[in-house]
């Protein structure tokens, strides 16, 4: 038996539906594809004749119940043979390196691009004239895949192409003159050839070369910032010129005037060969660059199939790095030349800069002094902290910082909150860069240890109270001490460390879970945290504590210390466990009873 080879038959109507309704995100892109074809034809013509002045003309004609749009260019045009070759076979593109041009000179793929017009029109008419032929050709394509081709009796005077589209039912909105103008400016606003639009009455040019694409050594600052405001609707702090030889990329990064969520990637406006590719590109800048919004044009990067972002390949990665270097160099220079603006940027974008500083020693050196930290004295930069002292104390845990902050400033002790993201790591690195600086990690219990001890006499006076109170608090896994500290209004200070807080949260959770999950919690509780104690440090400077020490009523002392304990917990926002709640409900009643009896 002979083996025969067959070809798949493809249903063009189905293909068109697939491409136009699934590949592209909106019918609007038909304008982009029209502009693209025109641009490609003009570029091909310029390749043949470098002095050629390209232009594009788009006219919207409104009749009773429909619209026609005509897009005209003075590019190369097609011969009959080229029409058969390029317009009849999908996927074949005149731009692929036919016509003797380098592949990268073209942004679109004619065949496929033209198909998008079927999203808005049931017929595409194309009239085209090439210098290679004396004839002007008329081609009419239908979405079912059929087409006709004929010679036009009166040939065009010069090479070029006109495309006519008649609006499809319920697609008229995409043919409204205002909409068409808007779409042309949106996609083609940066194209290097004049685009003229007309509604039959008036004519207007819709594009202009923006200031940042003009080849100037020094960009006029105000104009560049104005441009950013026009495009993004924001008054930016400053701008950074972007350039990468790889990918032939130019652009501007605008510095955002407000804090940004670093978990959300910023979206950039990107052009490929001056045609808008996306307003939501996420991949042109490195991840840490969340403090800028940029607009760029690339002449040599690859688009994705839907042409709505750049394709992620190695070239794009190199571009990312190059553009990242532009941002970095800008910051380095600014720190030296314009301290005021530099500080302003740091104050807003310190989170972003902190990430950068951790990854890069040079940037660390540059920035660290200006970065703000939360301290027990208020918000200080490292520079201000150094003025105060060179022995840096910090706590890496937010909860511990909260406990410390309440008393540290009263003891004139500067403690930094290292609980915010990156802060502990940044602080730990200080001694590497400043030889006279030491960094020490402290916890609340170390702070209370540093409080002033009682004298022998005072100790003796408080001895029986301390013994009894300490024993009373045993069942809450808490130790008791009496010391002197400021401010005297605080009667007792509850302090924990990471382990005790963690253990406490497990114990508390267990009280609220069912038997099965309680048993799971039991088995995962690390043994290392089960023996850790919290601490209640009573303040001898507080008159109430002194009185408690001198009373001989042990029942009252016991009750009072439990209430002090619960009160300290409540002050620190610790949810109470069942046995602690009992103190609240019964202890207070007992106290009242005791007081009324006394009276």
């Amino acid at each position: 038996m002979n083996t025969e080879s067959h070809r798949f038959k493809v249903n063009l109507g189905g293909m068109i539906d697939l491409l136009s309704n699934h590949l592209y995100s909106s019918p609007k892109v038909y304008i982009r594809e029209l502009l693209q074809n025109a641009t490609d034809a003009i570029r091909a013509k310029i390749n043949q004749n470098p002095n050629h002045q390209g232009n594009i003309f788009v006219e919207v004609i409104e009749t009773k119940d429909e619209f026609t749009i005509m897009a005209e260019d003075n590019g190369v045009g097609l011969t009959e043979e080229e029409i058969h070759r390029f317009l009849a076979i999908i996927g074949e593109s005149s731009k692929r390196n036919e016509l003797g041009e380098a592949k990268q000179d073209f942004i679109g793929r004619f065949g496929i691009g033209l198909l998008s017009c079927f999203m808005v029109s049931n017929e595409i008419t194309l009239i085209t004239h090439s210098e290679k032929s004396p004839h002007t050709m008329k081609w009419i394509g239908k979405p079912d895949g059929t087409y006709t081709i004929e010679k036009v009796p009166t040939p065009l005077q010069h090479s070029g192409t006109k495309i006519y589209l008649r609006s499809k039912k319920e697609r008229e909105e995409y043919f409204q003159y205002e909409t068409v103008k808007e779409l042309i400016s949106y996609y083609g606003g940066l194209l290097p050839f004049p685009i003229i639009a007309s509604n039959g009455k008036q004519k207007e040019q819709l594009n202009d070369v923006p200031v940042w694409l003009q080849e100037k050594n020094l960009l006029p600052r105000i104009e560049v910032l104005e441009y950013g405001k026009k495009i993004f609707g924001t008054e930016f702090l400053d701008y950074i010129p972007l350039h990468s030889a790889v990918g032939s990329v130019n652009g501007i990064a605008y510095i955002l005037p407000h804090k940004v969520n670093i978990a959300v990637k910023s979206k950039h406006r990107v052009y490929l060969k001056r045609m808008l590719l996306s307003e939501e590109s996420e991949n042109v800048l490195p991840e840490w660059a969340f403090f800028v919004k940029c607009i760029i044009n690339a002449n040599d990067l690859r688009p994705t199939a839907s042409r709505e972002d750049f394709y992620e390949d190695e070239k794009l990665q190199t571009v990312q790095e190059e553009l990242g270097n532009c941002l970095r160099n800008y910051l380095v220079t600014l720190a030296k030349t314009d301290t005021l603006r530099f500080r302003k940027i740091v104050a807003i974008h310190y989170l972003s800069i902190k990430t950068l500083a951790l990854q890069d020693d040079e940037l660390y050196k540059l920035f660290i002094k200006y970065l703000p930290f939360e301290t027990s004295f208020g918000e200080y930069t490292i520079e201000e902290i150094f003025q105060h002292k060179k022995n840096i104390l910090y706590t890496p845990i937010l909860d511990e910082y909260r406990q410390i902050a309440r008393v540290a400033s009263a003891q004139s002790m500067l403690v930094i909150n290292g609980g915010y993201i990156y802060d502990a790591e940044l602080l730990e690195k200080l001694p590497e860069f400043f030889s006279d600086v030491t960094v020490e990690r402290v916890n609340p219990q170390q702070i209370t240890q540093a409080f002033e001890e009682l004298t022998e006499e005072e100790q003796e006076q408080m001895f029986s109270f301390i013994t009894l109170a300490d024993k009373t608090l045993q069942k809450y896994l808490c130790r008791l001490e009496v010391k002197r500290f400021q401010p005297k209004e605080i009667a007792a200070l509850y302090s924990t460390n990471e382990e005790t807080t963690f253990f406490r949260s497990i114990e508390q959770t267990k009280e609220q879970t069912n038997e099965f999950f309680t048993s799971i919690l039991d088995s995962v509780t690390p043994s290392s945290i089960q023996s850790s104690y919290a601490q209640l440090c009573c303040n001898y400077n507080n008159p109430l504590i002194q009185k408690l020490g001198t009373t001989t009523d042990t029942k009252f002392q016991k009750l009072a210390v439990e209430i002090l304990y619960v009160q300290a917990l409540l002050l620190g926002h610790y949810p109470l466990k069942n046995n602690e709640l009992t103190i609240l409900s019964t202890g207070l009643l007992q106290l009242l009873e005791w007081k009324t009896k006394e009276n």
Partner: protein
């Protein structure tokens, strides 16, 4: 200030933070406030946020603890009209919890299976298929070194189509890669990983983990350049978060075979993550890789190293100089103790054999 305002203020601060200890701490603070006011509704949603932040910042034990609270409240109150949460709201997080549960040798095998069955019951009840359940069963079997079971559940998993509660494509693909590596089918693992390596599939944790998994297979197959390339790319992705301590251990192991100095640098930089992690299986792999690295150092005649161990480290000394031989002893003891705990729980010899496998490269 009203307590809801206090919580709002905390949530404002969280808004621009990535998952981190800092974010977890702030959420814990907010939860404490909600708890002390017995605001169960608020406490539930805050805990959901916390479970997310804790899972993706290397605090998985905290995620587990708060998850048990959420499930219990769902069982108690899901039918009560005034609460907005339902059982559906804990199904996704259940996967995270089970994904990690075998990491604690103190939790018995029976309890793990009971958890799996509990999850299965809840998925079925709410009309979701069992793809995630089979996947987790397979994963747990892999972690315990039970090959037949792993194969069985992997095949069951493949028969179920992904639905609303299934993991993302990148995570599923990464799991396939891990599975083939477990079976030691390295060629297959590498070809399976192609869409991830090409950047076509990715998420918050992928390709981070995939890169680290593939280092050793690539090395074994002699694809040295590719291995070095993804080592560099991969390390950049994982070096900022202790969530990736397991991935780091794979880098340390791989580098100790090809560039022991670099391996030592990474070990020094991230020792605290391995030392402090409460996910014991991660600690095991971190220590085991470090042991291989130290033994390689010793083979190359390095007698001492200088580094800043934390003060709580039992061998800590102030001058920062450590005998390599002493460190080897310490790590050897640790990995043996951990392996024994896991093998006893798992009723296999998988961890013991893993030690032997790693050490044969020394």
């Amino acid at each position: 200030m009203d307590y809801t305002q206090q919580i709002e203020e905390i949530l404002d601060k969280i808004y621009d933070l990535p998952n981190s200890d800092a974010k977890v701490a702030l959420l814990e603070e907010a939860i404490r406030i909600a708890d002390s006011q017995s605001d169960i509704e608020q406490a539930f949603w805050l805990r959901k946020d916390l479970i997310d932040a804790a899972t993706f910042s290397g605090n998985k034990l905290k995620a587990l603890i708060h998850f048990t609270w959420c499930v219990t409240q769902v069982d108690k109150y899901a039918e009560v009209e005034k609460y907005n949460f339902t059982e559906e709201d804990i199904l996704w997080e259940y996967k995270w919890v089970l994904d990690n549960v075998a990491a604690y040798p103190t939790i018995s095998k029976q309890k793990i299976y009971e958890l799996l069955e509990d999850m299965k019951r809840r998925y079925t009840k709410n009309g979701y298929n069992l793809r995630p359940y089979y996947k987790l069963y397979c994963n747990i079997s892999m972690e315990m070194g039970e090959k037949e079971k792993a194969i069985h559940y992997y095949e069951l998993m493949q028969k179920e189509k992904p639905d609303f509660n299934s993991d993302c494509k990148a995570c599923d693909k990464n799991f396939e890669v891990d599975y083939y590596i477990f079976l030691k089918e390295y060629e297959k693992a590498i070809s399976t990983a192609k869409p991830i390596l090409d950047g076509k599939m990715k998420c918050a944790e992928i390709p981070h983990f995939t890169y680290s998994y593939l280092l050793f297979p690539l090395h074994t197959l002699g694809k040295h350049e590719e291995a070095m390339e993804i080592q560099q790319k991969g390390y950049r992705l994982i070096s900022q978060s202790k969530e990736f301590v397991l991935a780091l251990s794979r880098h340390i192991f791989f580098l100790s075979l090809v560039d022991v100095k670099k391996s030592l640098t990474i070990f020094k930089k991230h020792f605290l993550w391995g030392y402090e992690t409460l996910q014991i299986s991660n600690k095991f792999f971190y220590y085991l890789s470090s042991l291989v690295m130290l033994k390689k150092l010793s083979q190359e005649n390095t007698k001492t190293i200088t580094m800043q161990f934390p003060e709580i480290f039992s061998l800590y000394n102030e001058n920062g100089k450590y005998e390599v031989a002493t460190l080897i002893n310490w790590f050897e003891q640790e990995v043996q103790t951990l392996a024994q705990a896991f093998d006893e729980r798992n009723e296999t010899e998988y961890y013991k054999k893993t030690i032997q496998e790693y050490l044969q490269y020394v």
